[in-house]
């Protein structure tokens, strides 16, 4: 494990960038628990100060310290993305692998549902739901809802792989040997599908945070609960760009780009590493 890490660190620039940005995110995550202020409490520090050593990211027009606010906002957004990605993976993997392997009527029925979900217009539905139940909506409900809308593309992707895998000789041999269906799917097919699952997880993660930001900017989430989108919402409310408090927008946007790019590059580097073919050529280089 350590060897793999140092090898990747030495050879892959993607990996280095990814690790740096993840470390940054983790640091923010941990610091959020030591914040001296409540994240949304206003007028605890002087308003409208530009970034300085005392206030790393500056302060807002509402008298909040942006650095400490961002630690909590990033934590909430990351948790939100992780919960969405995890929940939607459960559905996508199960539907994709089961439908693909079973085939026949079960597959047809499941794909009919799947395709219905694909054609649903996500944003209008979310807007509508947020309008209707805005007060009762907390971040966990919203994550579940995004998970419910975010699985169908990936399920189809996984199913397509399994359709091909189950016709291969090793699958037939496994069936002939009397290996139970569940074991065939988990032991023989899942390793093959893993890189796709990995890539789609990161993708889904970014997609859900992006949607959360979209809804927050429109003021359609709980705007008293710090998240990246909510910080941007308040910056817009106070005309941050016009009044010259550019750092109010720079902090959430900059951090989002930095962490997202890092996540993406880390996923690319790890994907390449997970692929046995790459590991083989790495072995050849080492020898």
């Amino acid at each position: 494990m350590r060897k793999a890490f140092s090898g990747l660190w030495k050879t892959s620039g993607y990996f280095r960038f990814g690790i740096v940005s993840i470390s940054f995110a983790v640091l923010m995550f941990v610091l959020s628990f030591f914040s001296p202020y409540k994240p949304m409490e206003s007028f605890v520090v002087p308003a409208n100060l530009p970034p300085s050593l005392a206030h790393l990211f500056g302060t807002t027009s509402r008298g909040q310290d942006l650095f400490w606010q961002m630690t909590v906002a990033l934590r909430n957004s990351l948790l939100f993305g992780a919960v969405t990605a995890a929940l939607s993976r459960v559905i996508a993997i199960w539907v994709g692998m089961y439908a693909g392997y079973r085939g026949g009527l079960i597959d047809k029925a499941m794909m009919a549902v799947n395709d219905s979900f694909i054609i649903l217009p996500v944003l209008p539905i979310l807007l509508l739901v947020q309008f209707l139940v805005r007060e009762k909506m907390n971040w966990f409900y919203m994550a579940s809802m995004l998970a419910l809308l975010g699985w169908p593309y990936d399920a189809r992707l996984i199913r397509a792989q399994v359709l091909s895998l189950k016709e291969r000789i090793f699958s037939e041999t496994a069936v002939f040997c009397g290996m139970p269906t569940g074991r065939i799917i988990i032991k023989e097919h899942l390793p093959y599908v893993m890189p796709i699952i990995f890539a789609t997880t990161i993708n889904n993660f970014l997609w859900s945070i992006g949607l959360e930001v979209t809804l927050s900017i429109l003021g359609l989430t709980n705007i008293n609960n710090a998240s990246i989108g909510v910080v941007i919402f308040w910056a817009n409310q106070h005309q941050a760009l016009i009044s010259g408090t550019w750092w109010w927008l720079a902090a959430p946007v900059g951090i989002t780009v930095f962490v997202f790019a890092g996540l993406y590059l880390l996923a690319v580097a790890l994907n390449e590493y997970i692929d046995p073919r790459t590991r083989l050529s790495m072995k050849a280089v080492a020898a």
Partner: protein, 328 residues
């Protein structure tokens, strides 16, 4: 020893598909009765698409839709004379004999190993559950020992299949099929896609294992040279039917069926520069097979009777049994 270990009785099977209200039936195995004996290599030869692989699947008791058995049976005779009908057996009964009694090297045997699983994992997945009471550590020792006999080092176990050469992969596959010491190995084109050197090595290995364990190999290939080297008895298949059956030497020396004669006549011989003759026409469409003898449209010596009646296997002068009205 001439005891039977596996037999098919008047086996008839077809692929049945329903698509958009259209029914299609491809009658791919027609009235096949074969008997395989203990400690012999039984070869099945025939051109592409004549039903060899389908017949093997049935013989292995591995019948899955869209393949359906119309009539007949496949029977496995155990060491104590107990008979198990493979096509009617329960999943538990099949589980009990698969790999332990019958192992099956499928067509495209280079791909039996999962490309993203290490070789040892494939052994664990496929063979370990059939080894009876044995700890994983013991099993690992058995596998290392067994692969050693196939001249494969223990480092093979921790490799991915693509790290092995074609010949090594083939040997691993044979190792996988023989690790449980079955009484029958069913091998579907085990040497196709290998060059002749590896082919010879692989065949030698199979023959050695067959003699060591005194097991039965059912060998399918369209390569008659392989059959000549390996098989004790051969069945020649044409369009889903067995047209001739007999000892390998008899079939090669005095084939009785006109199809067999042409098949053997088409083999090249070293030093012989004469052009080889070939049969006119194409293999029949099994969705609408010819009436009577399925070979009659292409047969150079066909008589009117051939288009009406179906010939059955009958003993001929050369020692073989042929399904032809004109064979003697």
């Amino acid at each position: 020893m001439t005891t039977e270990v596996l037999r098919t009785n008047a086996l008839r099977a077809s692929y049945v598909t329903h698509l958009y209200g259209m029914d299609r039936e491809v009658r791919v195995v027609e009235d096949v009765s074969l008997s395989m004996r203990r400690n012999e290599v039984f070869g099945i030869a025939g051109e592409s698409g004549c039903g060899k692989t389908t017949l093997l699947k049935l013989v292995a008791g591995f019948c899955r839709p869209p393949l359906f058995v119309q009539s007949g049976s496949v029977e496995f005779v155990g060491e104590r004379g107990n008979v198990l009908s493979l096509l009617e057996a329960s999943p538990d009964e099949l589980y009990g004999i698969r790999w332990r009694q019958i192992s099956y090297i499928m067509q495209g045997s280079m791909n039996v190993l999962n490309p993203v699983r290490k070789v040892y994992k494939s052994f664990l997945d496929f063979a370990y559950p059939h080894m009876g009471r044995m700890t994983e550590r013991e099993f690992r020792m058995v596998v290392i020992d067994h692969l050693g006999k196939l001249r494969l080092g223990r480092e093979v176990l921790n490799s991915f299949p693509h790290e092995l050469s074609g010949g090594m992969r083939q040997r691993v596959t044979i190792g996988l099929a023989t690790i449980c010491k079955p009484s029958i190995i069913i091998a579907d084109e085990p040497t196709t896609a290998l060059d002749v050197v590896i082919q010879r090595e692989t065949l030698g290995l199979m023959k050695r294992i067959q003699e060591e364990l005194s097991l039965t190999i059912v060998l399918v290939t369209h390569d008659l040279a392989v059959h000549a080297n390996m098989a004790d008895r051969i069945a020649i298949m044409y369009a889903g039917t067995i047209v001739e059956e007999g000892l390998t030497t008899d079939i090669f020396e005095q084939p009785a069926h006109p199809y067999t004669r042409h098949l053997i006549g088409s083999l090249p011989r070293i030093g012989d520069k004469e052009r080889r003759g070939f049969l006119k026409g194409a293999p029949p469409n099994l969705a609408a097979p010819p009436s009577g003898c399925r070979f009659h449209p292409r047969c150079p010596i066909a008589v009117p009777q051939c288009a009406v009646e179906v010939p059955t296997l009958k003993p001929c002068a050369g020692g073989t049994k042929a399904a032809c009205f004109l064979a003697e």
